[in-house]
């Protein structure tokens, strides 16, 4: 895609898009946040369970000790890939790395757009809408309505297979697809080498690293790709 002839109009409409989605995104996320808290507050404090504030605080602090860093690391990790509009969607829908990111990259490569570009951002937002539609429907039908009945039907083996093999097969396919779509040799090599080192050298040496493995690989690939970039090639911000 070459530079658009009406650049100013494109910029203006993107700006409008970002303003709109930021407003929608922020508001819907705040409503979602409030709704997700009403349930537990009601259960914990208004249904006669004799739960005290200090019980909740202790439990919360223990959880924060484990996940606290991720609260900040995750938005940082996914922002460059998702773009600001999709951030509000992704962190409310959840299941980002196993579902939303693959959906976004598949859509971007389907229409030949790169992440971080305007078309890439729009494609990611649409892909996440598509993924959310499928996800909401399947959850509502299969878990919400039929869940208790399905529990009796699904043999444990099938759940095992799903847990074991769906994610790796998906990730493998998406990795290949993103390598093909990006067509940038150096970052690809850097990313794979770093991921291999992380999984087979650093994590076995220091298991506590596993929690941050993805974030560390993302940040290091970005830094190394920048430092070791091909300086003869000129990079443009448009796809």
């Amino acid at each position: 895609m070459t530079a658009t002839p009406q650049l100013s109009s494109a910029d203006a409409s993107i700006e409008r898009f970002e303003k709109q989605t930021s407003r929608y995104g922020r508001n819907t996320m705040i409503i979602g946040l409030v709704l997700s808290l009403i349930g537990p507050i009601y259960i914990a404090f208004f249904s006669g369970l004799e739960i005290t504030g200090s019980m909740v605080w202790v439990a919360f602090l223990a959880v924060a000790g484990t996940f606290g860093v991720l609260w900040i690391v995750e938005p940082l990790t996914y922002f460059p890939i998702l773009g600001s509009a999709a951030m509000y969607q992704a962190f409310m829908i959840g299941n980002i790395s196993n579902k939303l990111l693959p959906a976004a990259i598949v859509a971007q490569s389907t229409i030949g757009a790169k992440p971080g570009t305007k078309r890439g951002d729009l494609a990611a937002v649409m892909a996440i809408c598509g993924a959310a539609t499928v996800h909401l429907t399947s959850l509502l039908l299969l878990v919400g309505l039929l869940g208790t009945w399905l529990v009796s039907l699904i043999p444990a083996e099938i759940t095992d297979v799903a847990r074991l093999y769906i994610l790796p097969s998906l990730m493998g396919a998406v990795l290949v697809q993103s390598i093909v779509a990006m067509k940038s040799l150096r970052p690809t090599v850097i990313a794979i080498v770093l991921a291999l080192l992380m999984t087979f050298v650093f994590v076995p040496l220091a298991p506590s690293l596993a929690m941050f493995a993805t974030a560390i690989v993302v940040i290091c690939s970005t830094v190394f790709s920048w430092v070791l970039r091909d300086r003869k090639k000129t990079y443009t911000s448009e796809s």
């Binding site: 349930g39 509009a85 299941n95």
Partner: protein, 262 residues
């Protein structure tokens, strides 16, 4: 009497989690979250359709992106559904839908619940897993999820401003950063799967134990679970200890379908 049926009447010492976890108030809140996400999708779709023609993106491509995203998410959604069903007995339908299906992920949320339960000297599933423990665990995981969202709300505008400034000063960075970040993320996520798949027996053992939740026989499982699940308890308790350890070792907010494997 009627008011009591609508209002969840809790008993701190009872292990009948479902009596509380499936209360109508929770169901309504869960439906509310579904509705909010649905509304968000509709608004976003409209915004994209308006902006797309101005960036050389025909509407056909917009539709294609939607379809590609939908198709790509069928497999992962099914995996999430299966895991969610396996966890129904522990948290009840509404909590599973909101915490594991949406907002969070099985890994982060079950981990949070397990950690919370341990602060009360209890373990998920088992005689110590009372309504009170469930209440605290549910509260703690929801708070953790809420902070995740608050961080997103605070950081997204800041990151956007930073990105825009950087793009003006150095466009090459902005061309390279998303590419490198994406390749880094998928390399890390894919390669992290390698050691897991190499040891199917290892993980299988653990999973089978964990899946004491899902009865193999064709008996009426829901009745079994509502009763309190008898023998499976002890095994599950052991398993959740292991799950908890697995957590500390390999924790990913989102890697949900596989975190139980170790």
């Amino acid at each position: 009497m009627k008011a009591q049926q609508i209002m969840a009447a809790g008993d701190p010492g009872s292990t009948d989690i479902w009596a509380l976890a499936n209360s109508p108030v929770l169901r309504l809140c869960a439906l509310g979250v579904f509705a909010v996400i649905f509304v968000q999708c509709v608004l976003y779709k409209r915004a994209v359709k308006k902006a797309a023609p101005h960036v050389d993106m025909p509407l056909a491509e917009v539709k294609e992106s939607f379809r590609a995203g939908a198709v790509a998410s069928i497999g992962p959604s099914l995996a999430v559904v299966l895991v969610a069903i396996a966890l129904l007995a522990l948290f009840g339908t509404p909590a599973v839908l909101v915490r594991i299906g949406l907002i969070g992920s099985a890994a982060a949320e079950t981990g949070s619940a397990s950690i919370s339960a341990s602060t009360m000297g209890a373990a998920l599933g088992g005689e110590t897993y009372t309504q009170q423990v469930f209440g605290v665990a549910f509260m703690a995981m929801s708070l953790s999820g809420a902070i995740w969202m608050i961080c997103t709300l605070i950081m997204t505008p800041l990151l956007k401003k930073g990105g825009n400034n950087l793009a003006k000063r150095n466009p090459a960075v902005m061309a390279l950063v998303p590419t490198a970040a994406l390749l880094g993320a998928f390399s890390a996520l894919t390669i992290a799967e390698l050691p897991k798949v190499q040891r199917p027996h290892d993980s299988g053992l653990h999973l089978r134990g964990h899946d004491g939740l899902v009865p193999l026989s064709g008996q009426d499982a829901s009745a079994q679970m509502a009763e309190g699940m008898g023998v499976g308890y002890f095994h599950r308790r052991l398993d959740y200890c292991r799950l908890f350890l697995a957590y500390r070792l390999r924790n990913h907010h989102d890697c949900d379908t596989t975190t139980f494997q170790r």
